[in-house]
Amino acid sequence: MTVNNNIERRQAVRRLLANRGETLVVCGLGSSTYDVFAAGDDDRNFYLWGAMGGAVMIGLGLAIAQPDKPVLVITGDGEALMGLGALASVAAQKPDNLTIIVLDNAHFGETGMQPSHTGHGVDLTEVANGCGFNNSQTITDYDTLDAFSNTPNAANGPRFAVVKISTENPDRALPNLDGVYIKNRVRSSLGIQPV
């Protein structure tokens, strides 16, 4: 299957975060974490270096704990597929401040570009629809992406979007590896002191 996706992942994430305001970000391990860091380091970014399949559920716990702040999960198709059930768990909770973005290049980029399930036709937007998300879409151009980024969460959130990106593999951009530091930095940004 040949797919020509023109959206570049770094550009997409820069646009998603350009007007982030108070948004808290959880990013899935691998390229999504590099993309978020490359868009500009921020105390409110929770970078994952492991825990594959966990990004959406970390975002859910955070969104419930901080209902007045937007929470944005940015992850890849491989990471989202490993935690597919999380879409059902999020849909059952319906936190209206949570947005999930899947950067979908239809490949496992970190491990040698093996085709992922989305490359075999699995449609994550339809999965989200089937789980009960009221607000889900597949984005294939920058104008739609910008409109999505600049639209506040609807009262019938959570929101879900697959962003179809090209298979380009930009240089890694590596944030701090220290999980305790990253955790305490996010908590401090919310005014919570380390124990």
Binding site: L24, G54, G61, G179, V180
Partner: protein, 175 residues
């Protein structure tokens, strides 16, 4: 009203009272009959958010997210789900998140369904391999002090504790 008509406090209610006292606000769970009463009480409490999961590791991740946002979470599951959590417990370890799970044991006391036995047998070892302390309750009197101590240690100093509720305490499942 005669006091002798007052129903005895159940150990499940002791767990609930500890949740209230320690301000536990998120309760992710994969259901088990042993947790059914507690789950009902959580659902009846506006200050607590029950979060039904498709698999136990989701609750490890959501509990870490809760703490990132300043809330306390306790994961409820049965012993058959402990193995599902192994890799996600690396998140707890790497970031030094507080972690409390209460596990209802199957496969260890008058178990009819021997399919429950291997994961039951591996439950304490699985937690210990991933750096989680294991506490065990064998009698109703054990429950309140064990849960209270675990919640205090976890959320005052980011410790990681699994409390196993023995099948003898819960009662065997009749078939």
């Amino acid at each position: 009203m005669s006091t002798q008509n007052k129903p005895a406090q159940r150990w499940e209610d002791d767990i609930y009272d500890c949740f209230v006292r320690h301000n536990v606000s998120q309760v992710p769970y994969v259901p088990d009959a042993g947790h059914a009463h507690l789950i009902r009480r959580v659902h009846d409490t506006p200050q607590m958010r029950p979060i039904v999961l498709t698999t136990e590791e989701e609750g490890v991740a959501s509990s870490c997210g809760a703490w990132l946002g300043g809330q306390k979470s306790v994961l409820l599951m049965q012993s058959s789900g402990v193995g599902n959590c192994i890799n996600m417990l690396s998140l707890v370890s790497n970031c030094n998140f507080p972690f409390v799970t209460i596990v209802s044991m199957r496969g260890e006391w008058g178990e009819f369904n021997h399919w429950q036995v291997p994961m039951s047998r591996a439950t304490p070892g699985s937690f210990e391999l991933m750096g989680i302390d294991v506490k065990r309750c064998d009698s109703p009197e054990d429950v309140a002090p064990t849960v209270d101590a675990a919640l205090y240690a976890a959320f005052a100093s980011e410790q990681k504790i699994a409390i196993l509720l023995s099948q003898r305490l819960i009662g065997r499942k009749e078939w």
